[in-house]
């Protein structure tokens, strides 16, 4: 069972928690590694996590922090994202680190085509460690101004506890299970 848990899982209309209660996780946040055990999780139904608001025609908004995805201490969140407005959204996790940044393009994680092309939204999944909040830049690609630019999030929040040193050593030597959770983008 533990080997079936990984980031960005796909499946028909499904979203699974990345870890179950009692399982070990290794939370990667920038250069930090946090060895933790999940002791509680709960689902978060779809909700509007941010409305960046009105944006003029052919304009990109300022980067906006998504404070509604902040987590408590010792917790991380697993969220899939989509928008209901005709915009493209660049995602940052945390606010200073781009997600989907390749050599020549910063791929918009989210736009209106997403649910048609990636129906379970597993490719717009992000993880948030504590209150290291993500951020979004909204690209209004239209020739008209828009009144709303809304982002919907859903997923799970996990509470974790620190692992003792012997368990950490067991994980490092491959004698104990661990699921890796990347809670940030990746900078070269």
């Amino acid at each position: 069972m533990p080997n079936e848990l990984y980031m960005n899982q796909s499946g028909p209309n499904s979203m699974n928690p990345i870890a179950l209660i009692g399982q070990n996780v290794l939370v990667h946040y920038l250069k930090e590694n946090h060895y933790r055990r999940v002791d509680f999780y709960e689902p978060i139904p779809p909700f509007q996590c941010i409305n960046v608001g009105a944006i003029a025609a052919a304009t990109t908004s300022a980067r906006a922090n998504i404070t509604n995805l902040d987590q408590f201490d010792d917790e991380f969140g697993q969220f899939r994202l989509f928008t209901i407005d005709n915009v493209q959204m660049r995602i940052y996790v945390p606010a200073g680190v781009a997600k989907g940044m390749m050599k020549n393009i910063h791929v918009p994680y989210v736009d209106l085509n997403l649910p048609n092309r990636n129906s379970n939204l597993n490719l717009s999944e992000i993880f948030v460690w504590e209150d290291n909040r993500p951020a979004v830049e909204v690209i209004n690609l239209n020739a008209l101004g828009i009144n709303t630019s809304r982002l919907i999030a859903f997923g799970f929040r996990f509470h974790t506890v620190a692992l003792d040193q012997s368990t950490i050593e067991a994980i490092k030597t491959g004698r104990a299970q661990v699921t890796h959770v990347w809670c940030s983008g990746y900078n070269q």
């Binding site: 209309n13 779809p46 909700f47 509007q48 409305n51 989509f82 209901i84 209106l112 649910p115 048609n116 129906s119 379970n120 009144n147 709303t148 809304r150 919907i152």
Partner: protein, 125 residues
């Protein structure tokens, strides 16, 4: 395929009687929810209109947002014929989306006449 995730919920406004003509008298036919404790912002896509002309004479019905100088059309004014029901279905209407309360007014009315207006929207958010 779950593109239905992008869909909102269908809701109908109340039947609103418009007995006074003119843009200054534009009246709410669908009020945008703005309750302080609700999460998220709602928008409304116009889906259906049913207009009953109560002997108001042939007239034009403007549907938009705001009133007076702040009125903005969502769709071109609709010709409302006298003394009959005037229905518009979704396939006849552009998929415009309003981010404010939807209002409407007739350009003119015969003395003693009025319009009964009901709108159906797809509320997104």
């Amino acid at each position: 395929m779950i593109s239905t995730m992008l869909e909102g919920i269908r809701r109908a406004g109340a039947v609103v009687n418009l007995a006074v003509a003119g843009v200054a008298n534009a009246t709410a036919i669908y009020t945008r929810p703005t309750f302080a404790q609700m999460v998220g912002a709602r928008t409304m896509k116009v889906c259906k209109l049913l207009v009953r002309n109560n002997l108001g004479g042939n007239c034009w019905l403007a549907v938009g947002t705001g009133a007076g100088a702040g009125f903005a059309n969502l769709i071109p004014p609709l010709l409302i014929l006298n003394n009959i029901d005037n229905p518009w279905q979704e396939f006849e209407l552009p998929a415009v989306e309003a981010a404010a309360t939807i209002t409407a007014f007739p350009d003119a009315l015969a003395v003693g006449g009025s319009l009964d207006v009901q709108i159906e929207v797809e509320e997104k958010g």
